[in-house]
């Protein structure tokens, strides 16, 4: 019975947060639609995304090919639908990995303090002093371009940021009376961290996850545009722009529409993150 009440309380709180800020609703709905498109790619895509048809190449948008065809005669719409799937998977997976390891490292650093803390935070300072795009570029260049390596590279660039976010509130929470009470009752460190501190930093983590997912999708597209993305002929949004850019003067649709898709995904994630941040910020809460 107690469990259910707790769940209902959380659900109610979440709804309150969303209602407090309308833009987060827009972001959420957009993201869900994009997610559906990505999941249902095999059903929705009108054509095979990799099937070449040289006779139909660089066709402008028409009733047959809604968004035109690319240099190899492939349907741009179908490639966008499949490409958004890869963007989504890489975005979610890299943020998930970064959040998991970053939170653990950051919370431990904040909780333990001392040398461990200084070392980890020093390392994260160093990693953050290299621009994320260059860091990603360096890692992918070394590991070789593939979906897994891209995910790893993006996750590595984001881990220090999540560690930073998890660390500060852990330090604050560590000195709160309720945590001291837990410690005096002999609770283990892990139990205190997971049960008592983690729920308090969850809100901020979700906001950051949403914003960093936007960045991850944008970086993946950037790396694919440079030529460090998932290998062709697999459709990725950044890769499509890279290929379409060569024909930008004669067939702008081959690069403009995939870019629009990237923009939409990133914008949706940013809307959600920005809205949630405003809604969760106690300073702004009473002003609305």
């Amino acid at each position: 019975m107690k469990k259910i009440d707790h769940f209902r309380y959380l659900a109610g709180e979440t709804l309150l947060v969303f209602n407090r800020n309308k833009t987060s609703w827009v972001g959420l709905v957009l993201l869900v639609i994009i997610l559906l498109v990505a999941v249902l790619a095999p059903v929705i895509a009108p054509y095979n995304p990799v099937e070449q048809n040289i006779i139909q190449r660089l066709q402008p948008p028409s009733s047959q090919f809604w968004l035109g065809t690319d240099y190899y005669g492939r349907d741009v719409l179908s490639r966008i639908v499949w490409g958004s799937r890869i963007s989504f998977v890489i975005g979610v997976a890299s943020v998930g990995i970064a959040m998991f390891f970053g939170t653990i490292l950051g919370a431990l650093a904040g909780y333990k303090g001392g040398m461990f803390d200084s070392f980890l935070m020093g390392l994260s300072d160093v990693m953050m002093s290299i621009p994320t795009l260059l860091m990603g570029l360096l890692i992918v260049a070394i590991l070789g371009p593939s979906q897994l390596n891209l995910t790893i590279a993006l996750a590595l660039t984001m881990i220090p940021r999540f560690a930073r976010i998890a660390r500060a509130p852990t330090i604050t929470a560590k000195n709160q009376v309720y945590v001291q009470a837990c410690r005096s009752m002999g609770f283990s460190d892990i139990r205190i961290l997971v049960v008592h501190i983690f729920p308090n930093i969850l809100g901020e983590l979700i906001v950051m996850a949403s914003m960093w997912m936007a960045t991850a999708v944008r970086m993946e597209a950037g790396l694919s545009f440079i030529g460090l993305g998932v290998k062709p002929p697999i459709a990725t949004l950044g890769g499509m722009i890279r290929e379409g850019f060569k024909d930008i003067l004669t067939a702008p649709w081959a690069s403009v529409y995939p870019g629009l898709a990237i923009l939409l995904i990133v914008f949706a994630a940013n809307l959600l993150g920005d809205g949630l941040r405003d809604a969760l910020d106690p300073k702004l809460r009473n002003e609305r």
Binding site: S129, L134, L138, F225, L249, V256, G259
Partner: protein
Amino acid sequence: MLQYIIKRLLFAIPILLAVVTIVFFVVRAAPGDPAQVILGDSASQESLTALRAELGLDRPMIVQYANFLFSIVRGNLGYSLIRNQSINSIVAEVLPFTIELTVAGVLVGVIIGIPLGVLSAVFRNSTADYVTRVGSLLGLSFPAFYSGILLLLAFAVYLHWFPVISDPGGTGSFGERMYMLVLPAMNLGLLMMVYVTRSSRSSLLETLGEDYIRTAKAKGLPGYIILYKHALKNALIPVITIVGLYLGVLVGNSVLTEIVFNRPGLGKLILSALDERDYNLLQGLMVIYALVIVLVNLITDLTYGMVDPRIRKQ
């Protein structure tokens, strides 16, 4: 102040050292043998061994690392594996273009961003505020290469206002060079503009809520004097940090901007280093980037300390 400067300088050194160390070992982890890259696949075993000895690749890793550090301290980034040129001279050729682009980007961002942020904060919750906020979020969502492509299509291909390829070459006059810079700088500036708008808005909002502003209002001072003489001065201090902080992002995005506009610069150099598997050049460029970022952070901290005496005293 001097003490503060020395403290910040000392703090920058270990960060730089660590970045350089990470870059060195990450590049060493790359697959492929530099000697093989230089001589090609058909090279004989003897010539490979000879070249490895010449390049010092046969020595223990720790010796190589020490040599690398010493040469960096002396300001020498080593030799390119592919081009018969020192990395210093390769970088010196194109560095002005990247600096020019980045500085122009920051200027565009600050000159447009601050007024937008102020407007948005002063007319809070108005239509203008709403448009600015959603617009800046949209700007934040643009991958730099995509905004570049759209700018190129709009202003170069359809309107013919600007050249499609912004390669200043080096022969053109100053005016021509600036003309070529407009589109790339706008593209890079868009991102900085977004950051500056957002931070100056929230910072000004916070300042406008302070007690001393209320006092000024109670004294009956007109709104514009409160804004210009009292609020803005304090509100714009955090914007300095934002500019410094996001200069790193800007440097990263300059790579994409240079590719789209086909401009020479560090970004295009990094791409050719990747294509040619010239790991020495890649390593040298990373060191340059790290140096730039650490320097910018240092300058930001120092400026901040100069503007806000509370920071120095800490």
